[in-house]
Symmetry: C2
Subunit: 531 residues, 2 copies
């Protein structure tokens, strides 16, 4: 037996130090007899105080088995392995988990029902983009993609773990040489043997994303093959083995989100019941409970199911108005991520010909509705291979992101979502009002009543969401009750607006002496008082 | 033992005749010892050929137990009772089920996933209205309500099975004298004893509705009591006994729909898990599988659950655009009935101040979105007590109903619901295009490609949905493929429109020689061809 990691198990003084939420990797030499991918099971129990975490290991080729672990508490962690292979069984050791590195906040999970946060408490507001096939590009292109992302507002990418079948991956400069399975074509793929080189490539990409603070929304299955390679027509046992292998390899990366499938209904041989099972395979195998969702085509999976952590929807209409996202919050009671809202570009395809204005409009609607959205552009061809961004929307999305980050830490909530659907914020202290394609020339100061009392003071700013300007209104507004629903300014104050589309207002409490009495909305005055 | 029904069990020549889908009622005299509502179980098995149906009976007071049965096949039905009371046990008999009466089509169930149909095959397109408390009014008012309904477009009413607590029911001319339970106030209600007189009153109302072809969407529980009578704070065993009693009494009425609750989340002591159970109590007890849903307030019940047959939603925004309903179809894969979309009227309450135009606009959006809607008006006070309709929307809803009934029998389906969301109909033969608040001056003939080929001929009609006119366009259009999505008229033909809101178009195939190749839409060209 050989421990290949650079430490001596029994020597506490030279103990390995792993920063919180980074990866401790235990490498063990074992037998290669038979098919190690199928026949060898290895798992380790990591302990710290009363905590016990049991990640499964995986075979990494060349006789090496690996177990990866992401510690989430500082201090000494001990481990013991178990395996059906004697060489891998009952190995013990320990390491010290030290403070997290700068700008590492741990994995993201659901917070406040509809929102997200990092493990360390910092909120995470998804601003996604789409680079399905960036992992299958050459080194220069990948470096360019990373540089572009680093300079962009985006903090989550949707990416495929398995390439689509296409001619450029079969011949020419983009020809792929490594595949998820041993072999190079349908005629010789051995679906019982993974290709570690392929997954090492993916791991490098995930690590690079982690290094620049980007969540990898990793899409495990996809159609776009129709049996030509056979990656979307594998049998059930192979699919499950693949899922467990993915969790064993990638689960310890703090920036992983699991997307079970892209456009799942286009994989004709898998029904929703199969996805139910596959979700549960991932849920059971993943000791960190990374976020789990699935991305629909024409058949929408039931996101109410308990193993789904958030909604990862393709439904363009939802973001044509803030109430679409807000409706889905009520339907699913989970975070709504509008993960495909069409793409900015000039494609002949309807799904790839949004103007920058329309993309930004849809983004604002998603966030005002209390949810999130994901960008993409077809200006050839970021959504496919990454590279550089050419569209006009990313700068405006960055502007929106600044506003969201400076807003309520809990995330934007619709404040009167059955009636005044264009207002989000936090009762009594913060209101973001979005006018979309309307062209108002003025706005009468008027806020929904929840948490308001007479005499509270608010300032207003006019936001031009397209030209990215924020202009303070030279006036302080004082609340005065109008009726059972609203408060006006006591002097009937108004805000002048330029009569252009894509304008917004930010209304914030200025008078700290009047802490708002925040109370929960009772269904926004639904007819409790029914006649 | 006494059979009180007007027939002799053993005399086949004088055998009772019951029309299909009417009620055969077996009345049996039994013991009144103890509490018959709680202690006596009686059930009958009705058999016809290989069919067996087992409705539960109920105690109707005065020593009479009843078992009601709705036969759905012509011919001889035999029955045998079972009971824990010897006097009610092992009673046998039979009757002949004869042809259905004129205009009786049997109970309504789900058809074509998103639509409804009667048992005899006739489609049922819900056009609902709301008369929550009509059952608790005096005879004159009830007669007036029935007369109004008969002359209206409405074919479904939402009505409460239990009154809300209010002062007019406690004193004055509207004072209620019968209640669901024995007693007259919280201090003396005996929740273990139903009051048969109360339910006989309700039955008469349900029968009257049946006689004029109206479905009774009977709301079993409601808030609006807050414990003052205690009808919304009964214990679990009482709730379940009440549900079973309702099913035993009302299940044999062909026009019953079960609405488990109105605004269920306002009953604070019942969680969604309780509603799960209550749904299943009804499902199990009801041998006819009448439609089952629940009507939300602020917390939306998960309509994906298997015991829910259709969505009975209160969510006003959904009907602000056709895509709202169409989105919910995809989410729930069940019929969407927008059962509360605010009410026409001039109430001070936001939920009761729609203009007639807005009500009609919301109706059209619901049907173009592939669903249904329910009307109500606060013009005092149809939604409460019935009486007469004073609003401007019912006539226009009648006009829409005529159009829907003359349309595709399968029900209106959105034909390009991810992109061109204002078109419903049937691929290749029928298109209803609704412009809502837009004011187009012309419409270029352009239809989504599904089921179209070059050279098909269509006629067009201009519909003024508010002024209720249909004007034939003096032109025949011939399809010619434009691109991967649409067909135009081969001569670039257009339809002139008046630049007013609330206009629609009806486009129908005129050339029978070209039967359209109807094919299933593949997700409306979602990006199967992803780059």
């Amino acid at each position: 037996m050989l421990i290949v990691a650079l430490f001596v198990v029994s020597n506490l003084s030279a103990q390995e130090k792993i920063a919180k939420w980074e990866i401790f990797e235990l490498s063990l030499k074992g037998s290669v007899a038979g098919n190690p991918f199928v026949n060898t099971q290895v798992i380790a129990e990591f302990k710290h105080g009363s905590k016990s975490v049991k990640p499964e290991g995986f075979y990494d080729g060349d006789g090496i088995y690996k177990i990866r672990f992401m510690p989430d508490e500082e201090g000494i962690w001990t481990y013991t392995t178990s395996s059906n292979q004697p060489e891998l069984d009952k190995k013990k050791g320990n390491f010290i988990c030290v403070a997290a590195k700068k700008d590492i906040y741990g994995p993201v999970s659901v917070r406040n029902v509809y929102h997200f946060g990092y493990a360390d408490g910092k909120p995470f507001y998804p601003f996604g983009t789409t680079i399905y096939e960036w992992s299958f590009q050459d080194r220069n292109r990948k470096d360019q993609t990373i540089a572009t992302l680093k300079a962009s507002p985006f903090n989550k990418v949707r990416m495929l773990a398995v390439p689509p079948y296409k001619s450029t991956y079969l011949e020419g400069p983009n020809k792929m040489s490594v595949f998820p399975f041993e072999g190079s074509s349908k005629s010789n793929f051995d679906f019982s043997r993974f290709n570690p080189a392929y997954f090492k490539m993916l791991e490098q990409d995930i690590s690079q994303l982690a290094a620049i603070g980007i969540q990898a929304d990793l899409i495990l299955f996809r159609p776009y093959d129709k049996g030509r390679w056979g990656f979307d027509t594998m049998d059930d046992a192979t699919n499950i083995r693949y899922l467990k292998y993915m969790v064993a390899r990638f689960g310890a990366y703090h920036n992983i989100w699991w997307s079970l499938c892209n456009e799942n209904s286009f994989i004709k041989n898998l029904a929703d019941e199969d996805w139910d099972r596959y979700f549960q395979v991932v849920q059971k195998a993943d000791p960190y409970s990374h976020l789990r969702s699935i991305h629909n085509a024409d058949r929408v999976y039931d996101y109410n199911k308990p193993w789904v952590t958030h909604v990862s929807l393709q439904y363009y209409n939802v973001v044509k108005s803030p109430w679409g996202t807000s409706l889905l919050r009520d339907v699913y009671k989970k975070p709504i991520v509008n993960d495909e809202i069409n793409y900015e570009g000039t494609s002949e395809k309807r799904w790839g010909q949004l103007s920058g204005e329309e993309m930004v409009f849809r983004f604002w609607n998603a966030y005002i509705g209390g949810g999130y959205a994901t960008h993409g552009e077809t200006l050839p061809a970021w959504i496919g291979s990454g590279g550089v961004l050419k569209g006009t929307s990313p700068a405006r999305i960055a502007f929106l992101k600044q506003i969201v980050e400076a807003g309520p830490q809990e995330g934007l909530e619709p404040v009167d979502h059955f009636y005044e659907t264009n207002i989000a914020g936090k009762y009594g202290s913060y209101y973001l009002i979005y006018f979309g394609k309307e062209r108002p020339k003025e706005w009468q100061f008027k806020l929904p009543k929840s948490a308001l009392t007479d005499g509270m003071h608010f300032k207003a700013e006019v936001i031009d969401t397209w030209n990215m300007s924020i202009t303070q209104v030279d006036k302080v507004f004082e609340t005065k009750k109008l009726d059972g629903y609203s408060f006006l300014d006591s002097k009937g104050g108004k805000v002048k607006l330029p009569g252009k589309p894509y304008m917004a207002l930010r209304i914030m409490l200025v008078d700290d002496s009047l802490t708002p009495k925040v109370k929960k909305s009772k269904g926004n005055e639904l007819n409790e008082d029914m006649p």
